[in-house]
Amino acid sequence: MAAATLLDLLPAALSVHLIPARRLEEKGGDKRGVVATALPRLDAFLGGGWPRGVVSELAGPRSSGKTSILYASLAGALKSGGAAALVDAEQAFDARLAARAGVPLARLLWVHAPGTHALRAAELLIDAGGFDLVAVDIGDKSPRLPDAAWVRLRHGAERQRTVALVVAASPLVHSFASVAVILSRQGVDFGERQDSRRSVLVCSAAPPLLTGLRSNVVLGRGRTPADGADHCSIEFSVMARLSDNDEAPPDGTRPQSRRK
């Protein structure tokens, strides 16, 4: 019986999951060599995600989206059951927003290591083995970091097949990074404020509401994307919005009496 006939006999729901051998390469690529983020557009731009076994760098000024990409990378690494750690030099991590971005907090290891301790902490984590992604958030105040530290980080990442992701306001890793993604601000979006409880616009002259921002992503170092694009645009929207609370305890238990 011909293969085509056999394929026709299979239930339609199953046949969509079958990939002919000749299409395996173009379909899958080397998924084991990358750690995907939760942003498909960025993954496509990076060739599937952050490459394993090398140091990658993510740099951009304030409000350029680097922290949003960091959270998306952590979410992507943890989504598949892997392990990820964040070394936070400035204690800038926001657990509430990270959870909204899809980061399973219970499985994220967070280390606050200021200054030069950040790279040492990242080295220790990478050397432990088993981490898919170890991110080092250097922050705005970039300290002077010795070249030897980057070399050790790169060797550790190579040995353990870990993604070492360095996030900073400006490029720090230089030639020690195999991939450098440079971000720039493209725009900030403000919309009209809407009363969430009544679902109506308050009025046309109401104060504006931050809805999101857009970033321009350029590959400063690394392999050129397959489609030849030298940049891409990524949009981030506000997921957790501040709203006027009604003074209830956050766990929802309402007190018996209210103090004036």
Binding site: S64, G82, A113, L124, E235, S243, P249
Partner: protein, 492 residues
Amino acid sequence: MSSIACVHAPDIALQAVLRGLADVGERAGPCALAAGAGGRAPVLAVTAAAASVRPGMTVAQALAALPSLRVVTAGQPDVDAAAAALADLGLGFAPRVDTEPERVFFQAGDLGQLYPDLSAVAHAVRARAARLGLEVRVGIATSKGLARIACRTAEVAIVPPAPAAARAFLAPLPLAMLAPGPEISEALARWGLRTVGELASLRPEDVAVRMGAAGARLVRLARAQDDEAFLPQAPADAVEEGTELDYALDSLDPLVFVLRGLIDRALARLACRGLACAGLSLRLTVEPHSFEIREVPLQSPTREAGILLQLVRLALSRHAPSAPVTGMTILVFPARVRATQVDMFRPNGPAPDRLAATLARLSALVGPEHVGTPRVADTWREEVTALALPSLGAGEMHTVRGSSSDVGALAMRRFRPPQEVEVLMERNGPSAFRGKETVARILIAAGPYRISGEWWTGKAFHREYWDVHASDGAVYRMHQDGEKWFLDGYYD
């Protein structure tokens, strides 16, 4: 038939002192343990190298006989630690042990699956004791009393389990091996009895008429009919090691040097039981007569002395002793290293033991309060993030549902603590702000969002939040609390 092992550490007080000397890298040489200071103090025990000195001599006599003799005295913490180490040695082979001064008893009959015979068990006990700095003799028999006698006969002695064979084993031994009291010993000598076999030939009831119950028991023991109860007990919760110093220490480095020995010994004892250290409590005796306690918490159990030492150094450098230290005791809390089941279809994640060691190293590097798993705190105050103990074991991993979208979730970088700024207010809201690091005009201001709460805890707050697009291009979140303004962070 059950087999009871008796492990005897002779002259344990002297061995305790020698353990301490070995910790600081000193070779003891010929050494004698004195009951106190001064030349008239009697010598209690001597090492094999000091053969010309005998217990009972005064220190002056001993030094005259052997001028190179080192005379030491034992501190009670050292002796207690050595006794506890002996008990831990037994706990390395059995879950419960029976202890008495200088001896530990445990059930050895169940070890046949691990060792080819009882002799191999005895040699394994001696090897492990050597790692703890103890020199022991091991006797194995069907009862506690017989095992104790076997210990006296040789460094390793196994009494055959069959009654006739056991009696034959005991028969040629001198009566002193039964350790009779001085009165009974004298009486037996008057009767012309020299060996255990000769005593065993007497009828217990006849001996009981002349010597009482003690004599009858001695005859039953000589006939390998021991009725002494074996009463095993569960181990103590924590492992304790301590020492007294000859002179007070007032700087950190020598203190840590001494602590290294204590930690090594405590970890070796835990390793005997297959356990790791889950936390440590350090009690310092400081001048003139007071104590200070330092707690050293651990994120996860570890067996690495270097990591514990770093954490202790960190704790001592943060809260230095208020006075020179004259003694110290460490209390090590034991825990099992977590074992996890590896999943065939998911990434393995970090190995539990390596992760535990890494967490301990990170704790030593940045402090244990800066390592953990973040969680959303139960509060309306947005800047608060709580930390929980990390739990990244492979067995706990599960696939997380997460949406992949072309539009990402906008994150924020927090300033911790929030930066206080001066704000220029206009009719529609803030128009400019000035802080230590940032000065900017405000192009667009979205807000205010009023949040108040925690009046139920007595720490009430009332804030007005604004999202502002500043002239430096960044989008900040700021809030007014009372008269003051703060920058919470920026969207990024």
